[in-house]
Amino acid sequence: MSGQNGNGKTNGSAPRVGVYVCHCGINIAGKVDCESVAEFARNLPDVVVARDYKFMCSDPGQELIQDDIREHKLNRVVVASCSPLMHENTFRKACADAGLNPFYFQMANIREHVSWVTKEKDEADKKAKALVAAAVHRVRFHSALEKKRVDVHPDVVVVGGGISGIHAALTMANAGKHVYLIEREPTIGGHMAKFDKTFPTLDCSACILTPKMSDVKNHPNITLWSYSEVVNVDGFAGNFKVQVKRKPRYVIEENCIGCLQCVEECVFKNARFDDEFNENLGKRKPIYMPFPQATPPVVLIDPTQCLRFTKGKCASKCAEACEKNAIDFDQKEKIEEVECGAIILSTGFKTFDAERIPQYGYKKYANVYTSLELERLVNAAGPTSGEIKLRNGSTPQSVGIVHCVGSRDQKTNAYCSRVCCMYSLKLAHLVKERTGAEVYNFYIDMRTPGKGYEEFYDRLLEEGNHFIRGRVAEVTDWAMSPEEQGKLVIRVEDTLIGVPRRIPVDMVVLSVGLEAHDDADDVRRMFGISCSKQGWFTERHPKLAPVSTATDGVFLAGACQGPKDIPDCVAQAGAAAAEALALVDKGFVELEPNTASINADLCCGCRTCVSMCPYSAIKVDETQDGEKSIINEALCKGCGTCVAACPSGAISQNLFTDEQIFEEIEGVLSYV
């Protein structure tokens, strides 16, 4: 133990430490006796002043530090308050403004790590004191450092071309940035492209979306790569390298004008393959365009269906018909690399697989549909040209809409998917309007928070829709009375009257919830971010940094972060675009100076460190004294792995030197 009298490293003059214990209102002071912590700190080595104050991060709080720096000639500062991830920069800046190198600062986290997680007050006091002692011990061994500046690449990559990605891309392109929009499917548009109308205003989805899609296509600042996927990401905020796999469509995109002559002439005279865009309710040919307004307006060939690929021979009428020579059966997958300064992820969601709740009869009974299927049925451009028909072609007289399928359910997803109540109302309205059928909504609670949403619900009530409160137990075709004959019976306990009921209907619609994509875990790993247990990408702070991620330079927009409706997606996409712009427009990023360096005198040239470095930043140099390792500071990212591995103790990491950490260990254990 270094004793109470102070013997810290002194770049010139002896350390003079100031300690500031923040009450954070009652957030800390409610549990920790801040005054006694300050009192304790006064007796720690090299401490010159120690104070407690209501809000250290406030202007007067920061001025307190700055005045002391001047008056007491402080050359080290410790603030015991919230997490360094929250306010380290605030206090570093306060120090710098008072003329002290900002790296002579250290924070002790006595809020997130003490007052918010500790039950007993005396225990909280003890722990707070230990953490303050650790910080004081350590800060004495800090040295002055400079932040490095690195230029930022001005381009931006957006991954996922649903409404969120489209809006983010357009916003940044309009601001003059070059944007690469990478979409996995053959067309952008995402889920919104499948809807007929959007709640609560019932404006036509295509009418508001397709102009934005063609803006993307025509924008001089946007490079649209559809049918493409990111396969690798390297680098850091400001300078990413993104590798993109461009899947072969067997059609040369630049040549195709979308005339569909090839589709017309395909040797398959009838469309006979399931049409994914129409949720497999319609058919398409092996050469197809997903839907008329697909963007880019380019066809593609499905090699699992086209005879040229499956049988090895075909009259290839499509190629013959194409005046632009756009068909290219030999097209190969390509990997392209782009550089960018910032990345926005907007990969959206998938809908819940209704087969996971077998008692609702999806895929068992022909006339049980998912909500997304119904969206296609009511869509004028859909497989039935907007007519709501049962599988046998007749019009339903009665329709039951089952809410919360795969939401608010401990067996599937505990969370509320946020949009299902509203889209169920929308679909109920459209069904009633188009067919005049009796529509029954089966709900647990109606959730309609949002501008104009409750009013929309009121409107539906007035339109004469039925609302039955209760979670549906089962959908069955087992008739128990003549009027149930040939119908689907929805069994439910009506919890408002406390009676089990059986409602016979012609069509059942399952309002499936929103889920994260199956590959969410692979995707988030590639971009170095985290996701929740359900697979939603995690924002840096749930309130204050909702579109940032733990990885600088990677931002989130839309439903990939959690279920949300279109207005929220668009708002978030705008926010993500603004954050990305703030990064690339600044032109440079400042890097933490936590890089490592090698003391050549101690290096024995054993090369242990060389293999440790994930960035190949360490090279071996031949010197007069034999082989020595050297670190290229520009490549070092500051993980410290080489430092821990060096058998000679020759490597040191700024901000995390051995000495500093040993002192921290000693401080955290020596007093309490």
């Binding site: 790590h113 997680v117 500790t118 985290s530 410290g640 792995t641 995390f656 254990l669």
Partner: protein, 168 residues
């Protein structure tokens, strides 16, 4: 015993934790933000990556009086620096065997992968480990000989051996 309640027996272990900045430290902040109460026995030291954790840090903590050491890093494949956590794991395994030989029980040294979103896991791991170490009681390391003592003992042994040699 969870939720930070004290034992009647009086012994409260002190555990030093080394958490990586990107996953586990962030997770422990989330534990706080979510107000999940846990045992007050763990004191966290932040490093950028679990790969930075030098086995000497663990030894130093034990020497300075810690009854246990907890290491927290990102899940395999998630390390912010690609694979620092694998390096940490490698060192951890070796050190653990070594400490075992020296009589330090398994439960005193623990490595956990905790993702930034797993605030509840921090609570669970800390409570569990505190309870286990509390059961083991204080760590009594065999007094580690100082270099001087070594020298001294060595000399005496040598002298003794030499004397024997001479006399025979």
């Amino acid at each position: 015993m969870s939720n930070g309640e004290k034992t009647p027996t009086g012994f409260e272990p002190r555990i030093v934790a080394f958490f990586c900045n990107w996953c586990t430290y962030t997770a422990s902040d989330l534990t706080g933000i979510s107000r999940l109460i846990y045992a007050p026995n763990v004191r966290v030291i932040r490093v950028m990556c679990s790969g930075r954790i030098d086995p000497q840090f663990i030894l130093a903590a034990l020497r300075e009086g810690a009854d246990g050491v907890l290491i927290g890093g990102c899940h395999p494949g998630d390390c912010h620096y690609q694979e620092g956590n694998y390096k940490a794991l490698r060192r951890f395994k070796l050190l653990k065997r070594f400490l075992n030989r020296m009589g330090v029980e398994d439960e005193r040294i623990r490595l956990e992968w905790i993702a930034a979103s797993e605030g509840d896991k921090v609570q669970k791991v800390v409570n569990e480990m505190t309870e286990q170490v509390r059961k083991l009681g204080p760590l009594h390391l065999a007094p580690i000989a100082t270099p001087e003592a070594f020298e001294h003992e060595d000399k005496q042994e040598l002298v003794a051996a030499g004397a024997e040699g001479e006399s025979s």
